[in-house]
Amino acid sequence: MDMSDKEYQSLAEKYYPSSPMAKNVLIAFLVGGAICTLGEIIRQVALSKGLENQDALTITSVVLIFLSVLLTGLDVYDKIAKFAGAGTLVPITGFANAIAAPAIEFKSEGYVLGMGAKMFIIAGPVIVYGTLSAVAAGIIYYFFR
């Protein structure tokens, strides 16, 4: 057919459905907010049991990560995430899911080259660039505080 890439793409675009942006943003806000509220409840419970704030924060992360990995293993997390989108992706639960999901999927290729190596295929970049950003922020903080 005699048409340029640009001509074709503008013809094709008419048929593209658009994502329901307002709905997605609202659901992400509500679910993401609910997860953070749950985190705050866990922190308050930990504080009420006499933990220092720093320890309460650690316990909060540990519990949320545990719940996320448990729900991933039970084949539930992806179903919540399909509905919630960024609401489940952004909190720490999304990060835990991104590690647990490939660990489950690639277990069939063995514990070393399968599960061990491939569990970072999604979260790996977050770890690498997260660490790099922390180093950069630390250096800036050292000189300009």
Partner: protein, 338 residues
């Protein structure tokens, strides 16, 4: 006497026929609008195996056994099995054919594999090199997700333009003496209109479909109304709309007798499959489960089966390359004199 017509088409002169066909699909496909037409539905997505890859292999083994049974032949009667799937190195096809002892030709045409296999099977038969040749293609949702996208348990949202890989296998036995004739085959060229979105394969494949169908009409002198059904592989809802408009712009209005396997196999609204089905198993199972039985029963006579494939590689996509597409057309008829 030359068997070539025009630039891309061959006309078969010895009347090879499809003597047996069968389709096996997964649970979701079995719950779809045409779910009742398949030979069997596998409720266990693992098919009793330990891994997705083994499950897909099992699907191929079952498809192969089914078509042999339905064509009333044994594996020693078969000269070639031509098989393809979506996995790297076409492992489901090769492992699936391992026990059969049939000379094996592995092909890769992404979702166009069934039409590619049928074309080659008809050519080998028409050339006098085979009495019985099996063409089989299939895919498995879970193994495809694992290889091309994300692990199944990963929590993410799919964009509305994405398609759902069909778990299914379709197999045909090509030889002589049946009553569904393979009359022509139009082999597609690689098409590239710069689509880079791996979640919009319908848009990447629509030009390939339009180009091959146009070439078929030009080479054979036929027109859309010569067919009771013009079937695209798996363009999905988006690609189907684009394809019809592209062909209309070329002077061929196919809308009246046009359908798409990806649109037919799922109820996109109820089954949450977004733009529709895809994968080698989509066009293969719709052809072998729905179209061929209707031809056998005399309900439809002339079909232009045009399976489309997005030759998508995660590696080249990440390197910024566009998604190449291909479509192959096979003309089927219940009358050898068309």
């Amino acid at each position: 006497m030359t068997k070539r017509l025009g630039t891309q088409t061959v006309a078969f002169t010895t009347f090879p026929t499809i003597n047996g066909y069968g389709a096996i699909v997964g649970k979701k496909e079995g719950e779809g609008p045409i779910g009742d037409c398949f030979d069997s539905v596998e409720d266990d997505e693992f098919l009793g195996e330990a891994t997705w890859e083994k499950a897909e292999t099992r699907l191929f083994e079952k498809g192969l056994a089914l078509v042999l049974k339905k064509a009333k032949i044994t594996s020693s009667d078969v000269n070639y099995v031509i098989a393809g799937d979506l996995l790297n190195q076409c492992t489901a096809s090769a492992f699936g054919a391992r026990e059969s002892g049939i000379p094996y030709l592995g092909i890769y045409g992404a979702c166009s594999t069934m039409a590619e296999g049928l074309t080659l099977a008809a050519m080998i038969t028409d050339g006098g090199f085979s009495e019985n040749c099996i063409a089989v293609a299939g895919s498995h949702f879970c193994s495809a997700e694992k290889q091309y996208r994300f692990p199944l348990e990963y929590g993410g949202q799919r964009p509305p333009s994405s398609q759902w890989t069909v778990t299914g296998v379709g197999a045909t036995a090509v030889g002589y003496g049946g009553n569904i004739y393979i009359t022509h085959a139009t082999t597609g060229k690689i098409e590239d209109y710069g689509i880079t979105d791996a979640n919009n394969m319908g848009a990447a494949m629509a030009p390939a479909f339009a180009s091959t169908v146009k070439a078929h009409f030009e080479d054979t002198g036929r027109k859309p109304s010569d067919y009771d059904l013009i079937l695209s592989g798996d363009l999905g809802k988006i690609g189907k709309g684009i394809a019809a408009e592209l062909l209309e712009n070329e002077g061929y209005d196919i809308r009246e007798n046009y359908n798409d396997c990806g649109v037919m196999i799922f109820d996109c609204g109820k089954q949450d499959t977004h733009s529709g089905g895809s994968g080698c198993g989509c066009s293969a199972s719709v052809l072998c489960g729905y179209v061929l039985p209707k031809m056998q029963a005399g309900e439809i006579k002339n079909v232009l089966f045009t399976a489309t494939g997005a030759l998508m590689s995660p590696t080249t996509s990440q390197q910024g390359e566009s998604i190449l597409a291909i479509a192959h057309a096979v003309a089927l008829s219940t009358d050898c004199n068309v």
